[in-house]
């Protein structure tokens, strides 16, 4: 072929021929390219998923732990890279993030953002104080009142005239029962704006709460004192009567405690021994055991002035349900108590009062209560009861 470049005169024919030749060359070139599919686009079936991941089209912010689209990462770097932003811009970026999270009630994320903003240590006190104030708000909404208060106070440190922060601090102090801090803050608010209605109301509410709390403390102290006095009187009465307890070693000094006097029998649990209203008579929780039936009756409050006879009359006012033979009548029974130390029983004189009985040498209070055994007179039950093997309790 002649050198195309130097050919000067082209006939129409020659031009058409050249065009067709070029077309054919192009076609064969295209045909020679490898047949490849376009694979960089979104797969058809998952296009919505992909769209959600794309930073321009995503509908919700990525959560921590999500894998991020590379473009997103790139944008992030732009926003947060300290080299790309001044400290103040960085802090403000974090602030915006935090505010965004607040709007969507993602308080913990907001706290995280504001914290990062604070960590920039940017030098502008207005910016820092807003970050602290906003973080305080986030803490407040999730009821972290201590953190909220401390943040609000930091905000005030950087900007003393920050009314919003002061108001929030006052509310936190109120929630934390820091009465004096709260009233101080409210007074400061009212100094700036005497018509701050909420501060006035909170001041009042706070004062009432403080007075109530103080009164309750005083009342508890008074009640505790009353209980203690009553207990001391009880203790003195018991010591005065030289009452013996078998939970305590004989020769050591008696240590009368509430524990010692707590009745161990379930039905008597709520009726420990006490002095009655006139302060002179001990009232005892008492158990009456029937060896024959392996049952017990309980008299929760017996004055020590009661005689055993009276007790029996009360016990048998109605016959015992299990007493088929009506052997258990006031005049037909004997009453005993056990001396566990020695391992024997003593018979009770029915005319004696409880006080007199307790005074007997062999009587010990056991498990905070009095325990008596009731058996029919001159019966086999009685004999078995008396001669039952008992091992004495030995104290070292």
């Amino acid at each position: 072929m002649e050198n195309l470049a130097t050919k000067k005169n082209w006939t129409e024919e020659e031009r058409l021929e050249l065009a067709a030749q070029l077309d054919a060359e192009l076609d064969s070139f295209i045909d020679s390219l490898e047949k490849k599919r376009y694979e960089e686009g979104w797969p058809e079936d998952r296009w919505q998923e992909e769209m959600d991941k794309h930073p321009f089209f995503m509908k919700r912010a990525p959560q921590p732990g999500d894998e991020v689209h590379p473009m997103f990462e790139g944008l992030q770097k732009l926003k947060y890279d300290p080299e790309e932003n001044t400290l103040e811009e960085l802090a403000l970026n974090y602030k915006e993030d935090g505010n965004f999270y607040m709007k969507h009630k993602k308080f913990r994320m907001a706290i995280y953002s504001f914290t990062e903003g604070i960590k920039t240590k940017c030098e502008n006190p207005d910016v820092i104080s807003v970050l602290y104030n906003n973080r305080s708000a986030a803490h407040f909404f999730i009821k972290n009142y201590r953190s909220a208060l401390s943040d609000a106070q930091r905000a005030l440190f950087y900007k003393p005239v920050y009314t919003k922060a002061r108001w929030r601090a006052a509310q936190c102090a109120h929630e934390l029962d820091k009465f004096d801090v709260c009233s101080q803050l409210c007074e400061e608010l009212l100094e700036v704006d005497i018509d701050h209605k909420e501060a006035k109301a909170l001041l009042h509410k706070n004062k009432m709460k403080k007075l109530d709390t103080e009164r309750n403390t005083r009342k508890e102290a008074a009640d505790a004192k009353r209980r203690l006095t009553r207990f001391h009187k009880l203790r003195d009465a018991i010591e005065q009567r030289a009452i013996k307890f078998d939970d305590q070693p004989l020769n050591k000094r008696l240590n009368i405690s509430e524990e010692l006097l707590r009745p161990k029998f379930l039905p008597l649990e709520d009726f420990p021994v006490h002095l009655d209203e006139d302060g002179n008579t001990l009232v005892w929780p008492t158990a009456f055991s029937y060896p024959e039936f392996l049952l017990s009756d309980f008299q929760q409050q017996l004055p020590e002035t009661t005689t055993m006879s009276d007790c029996l009359n009360t016990l048998f006012a109605e016959p015992l349900p299990c007493d088929r033979t009506l052997s258990y009548r006031p005049e037909s029974v004997n009453v005993y108590y056990e001396n566990r130390k020695v391992g024997c029983v003593h018979k009770v004189n029915l005319k004696h009062t409880l006080r007199e009985i307790l005074n007997e040498k062999g009587f010990f209070v056991s498990g905070g209560s009095l325990l008596f055994y009731v058996v029919p007179k001159e019966s086999r039950v009685e004999q078995e009861f008396i001669h039952q093997q008992r091992r004495p309790l030995i104290y070292s």
Partner: protein, 365 residues
């Protein structure tokens, strides 16, 4: 007199420090005696020199000048003279204003001294209106300085603000300002009726309460839901005695379940003032009913026992009995709505007063 006049030339602010100091020391000692005071008060120029020196840069000079003013204003005549003269001086030296500023300045070393001057001035009823004009815009700040115990950083205690407020309540306008709910002045002042560390604070605050109670207009304010004023009156009269739960529940919250360590007001004059307040409050039926409902009788019952045995001031015992007598009666027996509307003829009044005096003598064994 001439020798005194001669001192004036040495008291000019531009004079040498040592000359000023010596002259002022002399003046200060003169103010300690009646003749000296009179001499100084008759010399307008001397007074004006003293005014000038109160603002001297040297702390000792300023202090001596203010101390002189305290002595000069101690009596009514001196107070009026000093106040009126200060108003006329050029450049103006509105003494109440200067005093107020110094009190409000938390760095002022002479705050206490100035507060005593102001306390003296406000004691004169005829000056109170004019002083109120100057002080009115600053009342909130003064109350704040008073209520905050560590307000002044130079160790001034500002106790004398209490008598100042008390003196201001001598006149109606002062009472109105104190009771105005918007500024909550009373709320801040009242707790000091029981302030153990200073009898001046206590006395002043109780004086305020008394002035308010003696004005019947305020009885409703006093006996509304907020027990502030009533508590301020009763607290110094309450002791450590125990009341039953029922009785306790009647009392205002601050007075319920008081601990064993509670003590009563030690100054009998102050106790008497408090009882007189209560007596004033017994004037109308509605108020009497409120007092009964709040357990005032129970408190006075215990107080009476204490006063008879421990306090032993017969005027107080009588004052207490006067109140109790009214509270014990049933309303039908009293038959009157307002005690103050009763007219007592003069000769009867004479007789009652004599009977009281004799009774008082017999009260303590």
């Amino acid at each position: 007199m001439d020798s005194v006049r001669e001192l004036i030339q040495f008291m000019h602010p531009s004079q040498r420090l040592d000359l000023k100091a010596v002259a002022l020391t002399h003046v200060l000692s003169l103010t300690g005696s009646a003749e000296g005071k009179d001499a100084i008060l008759s010399l307008d120029d001397m007074l004006m020199a003293i005014f000038g020196l109160t603002l001297d840069a040297n702390a000792t000079i300023a202090k001596d000048a203010v101390l002189s003013l305290i002595n000069l204003t101690a009596e009514e005549v001196g107070a009026i003279k000093v106040y009126e003269l200060a108003k006329q001086v050029q450049p103006s030296f509105v003494i109440a204003d200067v005093a107020a500023q110094k009190i409000i300045d938390d760095q002022a070393e002479l705050a206490d001294a100035w507060s005593m001057v102001l306390s003296n001035l406000t004691r004169v009823e005829s000056l109170v209106h004019s002083i109120l004009d100057t002080l009115e815009p600053r009342l909130s700040q003064l109350a704040k300085a008073f209520a905050q115990l560590d307000y002044n950083k130079k160790k001034s205690k500002l106790h004398y603000l209490a008598p100042i407020f008390c003196n201001l309540t001598q006149v109606q306008r002062g009472r109105e300002l104190c009771c105005q709910p918007k500024y909550r002045l009373l709320e801040k002042l009242l707790p000091f009726a029981s302030f153990d560390e200073s009898v001046v604070r206590r006395g002043g605050t109780i004086g305020i309460i008394k002035n308010i109670c003696f004005d019947a207009v305020y009885h409703d304010v006093i006996l509304n839901d907020q027990d502030d004023i009533l508590v301020a009156i009763l607290q110094p009269l309450c002791g450590p005695e125990e009341f039953s739960d029922e009785d306790n529940e009647k009392l205002p919250i601050e007075l319920q379940y008081l601990p064993e360590s509670k003590t009563r007001e030690t100054d009998p004059d102050l106790r008497k003032m408090l009882l007189e307040c209560l007596l004033q409050l017994c004037a109308t039926r509605r108020c009497r009913e409120v007092l009964r409902a709040k357990g005032v009788y129970e408190i006075l019952r215990e107080y009476h026992k204490w006063e008879a045995k421990v306090g032993r001031d017969s005027d107080c015992v009588l004052a207490c009995e006067n109140v109790v007598d009214i509270l014990i009666k049933k309303e039908e027996e009293i038959g009157l709505d307002n005690y103050k509307s009763v007219e007592v003829p003069d000769d009867q009044a004479e007789k009652f007063i004599q009977e009281d005096a004799a009774y008082v003598k017999s009260l303590l064994d």
